[in-house]
Amino acid sequence: MKTVVETINLKKVYMLGKVPVRALNGVNLRVNEGDFLAILGPSGSGKSTLLHLIGALDKPTEGKVLIEGVDISTLDNGQLADLRRRIGFVFQFFNLIPRLTARENVELSLAINGMGKNERRKKAERLLEIVGLRDRMNHKPTELSGGEQQRVAIARALANNPKFLLMDEPTGNLDSKTGEEIAKLVKRLNEEENITIILVTHDESMTKVANRIAHIRDGQIIREGEK
């Protein structure tokens, strides 16, 4: 099976004022195509930092991130931006652009990748259909519920046929019922569309839908295994 993401002895230290904080302390992970990996850990365990490093948004202090075998520390800023287009990021607080409608938010991702107007409009509509939001696509984020906003964010993350999805507490800001719906949607994407998913959460219910679970504490993977 093809390895999509691999981290080798990944370390990250950042400064909180003058105090160095060890966010990651040697993380080794391997994610294969089609995996649905849930990384569980309490807040402050370094799981968001791990996601940022895998998503090429931040640079490690030590160690390597390999994406499809390529060490991303060797890439320049432009190549990193290109890489991010092929990584679907879903955030806890949705991070939609408030002045754009649901469809335009999805289109923006396609426009950044240089897709033409008509083509991206059609594709955005198709993606919103997949996440079940076709009839709400002309609404702005403020007119949508939390669950609906997260669906838009997922549709946006899927826009440029990503190599994998990175989800940072996707249900963290939703009530449990809506959270379950999102979990189901993610599960469906993994099973039906064969999309590789790496998800960090402290929500135990997400572990039900994942097929691999890793526990992270104090910047280290303490337990990992197939379900």
Binding site: D58, A81, N95, L108, I112, N113
Partner: protein
């Protein structure tokens, strides 16, 4: 990301903050309008003055006056020079022998009291050979009423256009065939003595506008040279106007030198063409000054742009983080921010050009209607029947447009650069 998408994204962010963008644009409009209005008025003013000056003189003439440049500054009130050098009427014969000189005419000028019917006015009387003077100033020494005689009677007088109707309201001060009394006060020892004679107006000149460089004037009174010689009891003249074969710089230079040499540097020779050049360059300086003042207001507008873009940068930090997480390149972020300032600069410049031009036109119109042109000297110019039409050469609006966009780019560059350099993770965390 396509350029068109970058621009439409930038435009959508401007639309979101209409009032703020509008006020920033207003700053640019004011700056550009000031530049366009001031420059087009100044250029209109310059072209009007230059045109009037050129109308009043011949480009191929030189004016010879007694006294070297230095002595002229020490000229005493009686018109003689401290060196005691005198330019004689017959000196024209010497000047005529110089190569490249076509003709020359001696001019006697004295201040006299002239009685027109019941009004007495102090004016400069000019004694010239009418035929020669007319040859040199063939476009301006032309009769509008009556005729300029080639063999004038002793009492012939020719007056300038404005002396006929100085108030421009139809009240004729002095008309054709009127008799005027010319009185000259001369000194005999310590006493002063009045001399008078009565002349008859045989011609009124056409309107000239601006008198410049020895040529005929709207307020001039002209008598035959022979009469002037006998009346003022002198062989001395105040100046000699020399006509050259052409108006090239070399000819002007060459003949000027020859004349100075001829009179042993006791005369100064001035060229109206050279003087016009000096006036032109003075105007250029004034224009530069005005443009500079206007440019300051545009600079203030530029600082406004920078200020607003930095505020915008802070407000949109999270948005920039999202855009970067979606894979937008730093360069594209920079271009989005720059596009916003360019749009503001472009709209502001175009509107500013329209406003500035309208303003210049209105000011020019007001000047025309009230006979009061801008720039202080207005009343005098206006009274001479000159109206200022603002000139809009393509260089002014194009230059203003380029300058407006340049300023918006320069002041937008720093916030755009800062936006492009934001760290995505920190930007996403920004509240």
């Amino acid at each position: 990301m396509k350029i068109s998408d970058i621009f439409s994204y930038a435009f959508s962010t401007i639309k979101l903050r209409k009032l703020r963008a509008g006020l920033t644009t207003l700053g640019v409009i004011i700056g550009i309008a000031a530049i366009v209005a001031l420059l087009s008025l100044a250029q209109g003013f310059e072209s009007t003055i230059t045109y009037q000056l050129q109308k009043g003189f011949s480009t191929n003439t030189l004016v010879v006056t007694p006294g070297s440049g230095f002595n002229q500054m020490n000229r005493n009130p009686f018109g003689t020079t401290s060196s005691g050098f005198k330019l004689l009427i017959n000196d024209t014969q010497l000047i005529n022998k110089i190569e490249k000189v076509n003709a020359s005419v001696a001019v006697i000028q004295k201040t006299c009291y002239i009685k027109f019917n019941d009004k007495e006015i102090g004016l400069t009387i000019t004694g010239v050979n009418f035929t020669q003077f007319k040859n040199i100033y063939s476009t301006t020494f032309v009769a509008r009423y009556g005729e300029i005689p080639s063999n004038p009677e002793n009492d012939t007088v020719i007056i300038g256009y404005r002396l006929r109707d100085p108030w421009e309201n139809g009240t004729i001060l002095c008309d054709l065939d009127d008799e005027i009394e010319i009185t000259w006060t001369t000194r005999v020892g310590i006493h002063s003595e009045n001399k008078s004679y009565t002349g008859k107006v045989t011609a009124v000149l056409g309107e000239i506008g601006f008198n410049f460089g020895g040529g005929p004037s709207d307020y001039g009174v002209y008598i035959p040279i022979s009469r002037a010689q006998s009346f003022f009891e002198t062989d001395e003249c105040n100046m000699i106007v020399v006509q050259l074969v052409d108006d090239s710089e070399e000819t002007i230079e060459e003949v000027s030198e020859s004349i100075k040499e001829l009179f042993d540097n006791q005369v100064s020779v001035s060229s109206p063409t050279a003087m016009l050049d000096i006036i032109s360059s003075a105007f250029s300086t004034i224009e530069l000054l005005l443009a500079g003042i206007a440019a300051i207001s545009l600079l203030v507008a530029g600082i406004g742009i920078m200020n607003i873009m930095i505020v915008s940068l802070m407000e949109r930090t999270r948005e920039i983080g999202i855009l970067k997480a979606l894979g937008m390149k730093n360069k594209t972020v920079l271009l989005i921010f720059l596009s916003e300032t360019i749009i503001i600069g472009l709209i502001g410049s175009v509107a500013g050009i329209v406003v500035g031009w309208s303003l210049a036109y209105i000011v020019g119109r007001i000047g025309e209607l009230s006979g009061m042109a801008p720039f202080g000297v207005g009343r005098r110019i206006g009274a001479m029947g000159i109206s200022i039409t603002p000139m809009l050469t393509p260089t002014v609006p194009l230059g203003a447009l380029a300058f407006g966009i340049m300023v918006s780019v320069i002041f937008g560059l720093y916030p755009a650069w800062r936006a492009s350099k934001l760290n995505p993770v920190e930007a996403l965390r920004y509240e």
